[in-house]
Amino acid sequence: MSEESSIEVQEIEQFLLDCVPFDHLEDALLQRAAKAVKIAYHRQGTTPNLFQEENPRLFIVRSGAFEIRDQNNALVDQVDVGGYFGFPSLLTGHKVTNHCVVLEDGLLYQIDETTFQSLRRENRIFDRFFNQAHAKRLRQAVRFKERNSQLTETVADVISRSPITIHTMASVREAAGKMTEERVSSLLVVTEEGLCGVLTDRDLRSRVVAAGLNFDVPVAEVMTTDPITVAHDAMLFEALMIMSTHNIHHLPVIDLDASGKGQIKGILTATDVIKHQRSEPVYLIGEASRVKDRAGLVQIARDIPTLLRNMIARDARAEEVGRVVTTVTDAITRQLIHQAIEQLGEPPVPFVWLAFGSQGRQEQSAKSDQDNGLLLSNKVKPEHDTYFKALASYVCDGLNECGYVYCPGDIMATTDRWRQPLEKWQACFFRWIDQPSPKALMHSSIFFDMRMIYGEEPLFEELQDSVLERCQGNSIFLASLTHNALQLTPPLSFFKKFVLTRDGEHKNTFDMKLRGVMPVTDIARIYALATGCKEVNTLKRLQQISQGKMLALKDARDLCDAYEFISHLRLEHQGRKMAAGEKPDNYLSPEDVSSLSRHQLKDAFDVVSRSQSGLKLKFTRGMM
């Protein structure tokens, strides 16, 4: 070989070096691979005949994007720059049944079988990589890969053993024996119906021994009845929130099925959670419920951008990011309310702190304004308003200091209209529902994404139930909402090209929030209101609605996938902005994402468009 031999394939070698596992090859093997590369060009829309039975090859995408489909034309894989295909038949020797569709003009490198097998033989990492890639393919393309980070661990990940239960009619003596035997600090008390209480070693001390009770009394008499529970798929920090809110240390874990019946999964203790407290949101939430003054909360809020950046960097699901960030906001809000009550004294009548919009939906990310209100008991008297006005000011000012800036539309508890007794709130909602005008609804739709952050649950439920009841079957109201929702369409032209902003500051971009995320939240809201669904989170709404007849399961799932994809791309964009030291915004340029992401984004937008058409058919028939 001449001295220039390594220069000769420089461009090829350089590219391969950027591709795992070629970067693990020894120099001689890398050169062998580069020398074996043959290049072909493929034009968008063609289906080149790449897979030849007698001549299997490894294909490496040098540019462009390609789709692999099986004999039934089902999608097997989508690959872009640096992606591979063709390897399964090289590994198994099985007949090739797939075919390839060119999504975007591109160059394909191919490596012949002899070279590929020699690289496998001579480099273990290379061999292992393709074996794993093959195994992964077999598991079928799960669109969003499983991730296991501490941040996003669920309750089910932490509870270590099957539930230890005792019958409600057993004696406390038996209970104590069982706890000692199983070495646990608590028991789940059950009847034939299911869970009815919790018994802890503390209950035995204070309610039995200290109270001088006979050890033969049934468990039912000393247990905590109707305990607060947590869903097994709730995230760990949410469980922590429940514990700190109610000052309890044992949480029964329930798996709710579609009918609302629960199956007992186990019990989560404060100790379980502490073991996992190293992760940041848990720490932030824990801190937030401890600090005694506003300045302390401002300090904690400063860490939210870092938390958000870290989660994005760790590739957390957009849904999880929304829940984590919102939970921190909730914790800060609750602590502000606690602090206010500490200063102002106990509230004169029951109240509920309401969150609307993205906080209501648990979908906050960077740059969230505050949207909140105060729901007061009907027993409130005019002279009580001083108290609640002061409470609202304390909390809203505090939120503003923490970076949740005042709502530009004044949807805040400090505004008199949004600090009202139940009957006034109901009158307000009923007016929107009974006399809907698209214009009025444009501004009020976020009120329908309401969630209780603090206060008396029955009061909140009364409002929510009456609103949902009023919405159902109210076709004019639903048609008006639909009319508004259809004003925001995904930025795709008839020919499936991106429609970009033509001029101004955000030239050649589209607004991922306005044209991507909001259309889906609108769709979910309308279906939720039409079916009386109490969920406010978009994905939870869609999941619950898909159990009914209004929206087909497949359509709901497609829409969930599309929503997660769009939200995730938006978050990645914000993450890039933050990493560059810029203010996060919603303006994405298609040029900023890989060609594969562009294709998936078009698919996602297409799903949203089709859902909008479905919405129109269902709710505006003959009306507009």
Binding site: Q10, A40, Y41, H42, L107
Partner: protein, 212 residues
């Protein structure tokens, strides 16, 4: 029909091969994509600094069979170093023109030459070997010129190699040397063929017509 055939300069015994080749699909043939780095754009005063080539065999570019030759005989790289990054000292261990042309001649056997802006590079080669002055080659720049003319698009200032490549969504190469540019030309050629003929048969005769 192929009047330009008389411009052909072929070695003895090659006419037959070429006439047969004219009717064959270009994917059944071999091409040699060629690029030169020069000290100036003027064939009168400039010299060849390096020769790079990559074959296309049956529709596939084979960079592993490519070659990059630095030439030691030249009158100094001068300002052209800014473009190609070759310094005088880099070519000290290079080949003589005679060796390089002999290797090129060997590599050309049974292959059709393929260049971007063929007339310039061929003029430089003709200084050393007159047979290049009448050699027929496929020119990706001419193909692009004709294609854009037919589509009624502006041609001025749009025919540089990288500009042409962008139109076919081909990646941008950082390195600027004769071999990379030969590879880039080969890729552009396949892209042009794919756009103009698709999967359809396209004879060498047609390809040459497109590049007149």
């Amino acid at each position: 029909m192929f009047q330009w055939l008389n411009r052909l300069s072929l070695g003895r015994g090659q006419e037959d091969w070429f006439v047969k080749a004219l009717n064959k699909d270009f994917r059944e043939l071999e091409f040699l994509a060629l690029d030169l780095e020069l000290t100036s754009l003027d064939p009168q005063s400039g010299d060849i600094l390096s020769i790079g080539y990559v074959p296309i065999i049956e529709g596939f570019i084979c960079p592993g069979e490519g070659r990059h030759c630095l030439i030691s005989e030249h009158s100094g790289v001068g300002d052209s170093a800014i473009i190609h990054g070759i310094r005088d000292c880099d070519t000290d261990d290079g080949h003589t023109m005679e060796e390089a042309l002999a290797e090129l001649h060997q590599a050309r056997q049974g292959r059709v030459l393929l260049l971007h802006h063929a007339s310039l590079d061929l003029a430089f080669l003709a200084k050393h070997d007159n047979s290049y002055s009448s050699l027929l080659a496929v020119d990706t720049m001419r193909i692009e010129y004709q294609r854009r003319n037919r589509q009624g698009q502006a041609v001025a200032n749009s025919l540089r190699l990288n500009q042409c490549r962008e139109r076919y969504h081909l990646p941008t190469y950082k390195a600027h040397n004769a071999l990379t540019d030969a590879l880039a030309t080969a890729e552009l050629f396949l892209a042009q063929m794919s756009y103009m003929g698709g999967e359809e048969r396209m004879s060498l005769g047609e390809v040459l017509s497109l590049s007149r």
